[in-house]
Symmetry: C2
Subunit: 331 residues, 2 copies
């Protein structure tokens, strides 16, 4: 029935460079690791299913990369240092080339971020990849969704909507985006979790989440957990050149607000910590962008401004969906 012994050991143990805090890795009933003194353990889990999260055209290397990346993105949103990865891989058959490429993608990103694959399970069945990632954070310093305060500045870590636009293009919705295709597909298939930024935000951000389901949806979790509202300045939303050259302004805003899979961080910072944030992120290639502010509100509502003027667009009004329909973003 179970065969942890064969596939995992063969494809995943060989390239392994193991962290010093892994006492027992792949090959026993469980892995044994050591959390640093005065640190909390952070655990995240994400599943990717064939036909839902990727399709036949997705390279196996990208699936291996992304399955790890989405988990490291969750760890980053908690302010945690990524440490250990467990892989549950369900496969219809042991396709050697696929496994070689998948494990290469998985190992590249693990190596880049310094985390070790410590175990897992391989089973026969429809292609499904579940990764559980563990990280650590100094005691009591984990970032959460619930600390946003009225007056906090609202930030995102980088351009939004690119992954969603890439998906649209592969589905032939915007064939005119040809010149940017390669770059956008990279953003969709090989997202970069904001691991360093997440750790820098400890003690600086009041609330943090990663944008996996779209800015409005994920910001909505911060607002609901923190019992506040927000105001977004649409013209401050960071957009890539590929985005602005492919879509109209309205379409681009809608895409940036609603498309998922970018794995940028969205976080809030109190006025008195803005200087600290700027110092901490001065060395980063992609600096966080301030896109608005947290407001007092009971209903977790978001309001919008465009060029300094109120822009009558709220999550509740029927026109919002309409707006999204126009932008082709409700898929």
């Amino acid at each position: 029935m179970r065969n942890e012994f064969s596939l995992i050991e063969y494809y995943f143990q060989q390239h392994q460079r193991t962290r010093d805090d892994v006492l027992i890795g792949i090959g026993d009933d469980g892995a044994v690791t050591r959390v640093q003194p005065q640190h909390d353990l952070v655990t995240v889990t994400d599943t990717m299913v064939a036909g839902v999260h990727f399709d036949d055209t997705t390279p196996a290397r990208a699936i291996g990369h992304k399955a790890v990346a989405v988990n490291l993105s969750d760890l980053a949103a908690m302010g945690a240092e990524p440490c250990w990865i467990s892989l549950a891989l369900t496969l219809p058959e042991a396709d050697e080339q696929w496994l070689q490429e998948f494990s290469a993608g998985l190992h590249e990103i693990c190596q880049y971020y310094g985390c070790s694959l410590i175990g897992g399970d391989t089973t026969r069945g429809p292609l499904t990849v579940t990764i559980t990632a563990q990280g650590q954070v100094p005691e009591g310093q984990a970032l959460t969704r619930k600390g946003a305060m009225p007056g906090d500045w609202l930030y995102v870590s980088g351009p939004l909507g690119d992954a969603g636009l890439a998906l649209d293009i592969t589905q032939q919705r915007y064939p005119e985006a040809g010149p940017h295709l390669q770059k956008l597909i990279e953003r969709l298939h090989y997202p970069s979790p904001r691991v360093a930024l997440g750790q820098s935000l400890r003690g600086v951000a009041n609330a943090c989440i990663d944008v996996s389901d779209g800015l409005l949806a994920d910001l909505g979790h911060i607002l609901t957990s923190s019992q506040v509202g927000a105001e977004i300045e649409l013209d401050k939303l960071p957009l890539s050149l590929a985005m602005t050259e492919t879509l109209s302004q309205q379409q681009a805003y809608a895409k940036a607000l609603t498309a998922g899979d970018d794995y940028e961080l969205c976080f809030t910072v109190a006025e008195h910590h803005r200087g600290k944030l700027e110092t901490l992120t001065a060395h980063l290639k992609n600096k966080p962008v301030c896109i608005g502010r947290i407001k007092k509100s009971q209903q977790a509502t978001v309001s919008f401004k465009l060029e300094g003027e109120d822009y009558p667009l709220t999550l509740e009004q029927p026109g919002f969906n309409h707006f999204l329909d126009d932008a082709g973003a409700t898929s």
Copy 2:
């Protein structure tokens, strides 16, 4: 794409009685927990796939129970105290009754063993359940497969082969087992991980594994890792009444040696620790049974005795498979 927010929160958060060491549970990007000082973290992962590990006739409650049980069994084999569970649940549709029963099965066993569900991911796709369980063990005291020494006594924690026999019966191979059916099906669907025993074995057992793939297969991992061989006294193999009343003696031995899914522990104990083992397990309802001894050997071979006489049956000889075929156990 991802919707950790809906199903998991609704069905799994409500009954939750959370351990004190869970600082942040379900509902943020990750869970935050605290490992006790001077303890190591033990992590295990197991996947159950519909059509492979269970079928349409398996009650949802049993799937929820067993998905946790197989993981706790791995933790027990490492000598770890079970603490936290993450659930990755892939479902074709959100069937309310199924979810209710599945989550009831999952919660019952979590509650019994004192572990908390701390997070997970729900996705749409072919029914697959992956659980990652985390436990803790005093520093450096995790049990492994590799410490068995020549002269060690070989133990199993309880009757072997019942789950395999149950599977045969449901597949109509032994219709005469009718009177024992209910009990056997319970063993197959609701295995009891040997959590207390596993923790008692710290500092007592030299090597330990859980019997998920069959005694010979799993003992084989101990022998390979420890570079030793073993001798099994067939007439000491613990067999249930259901087993001895349903199968011939030969069939019963074959089943006990090769059938998986019993989730008993198999472990080795040095001569000078036998007394300690007896004291430690005196209070257990099911006491471990000594079934043989570890031998010096380069080849991880197993030899057998029956009523004190050598019984010419080794893993390598062709007759072994034949023997199993006769017993109907090669499925």
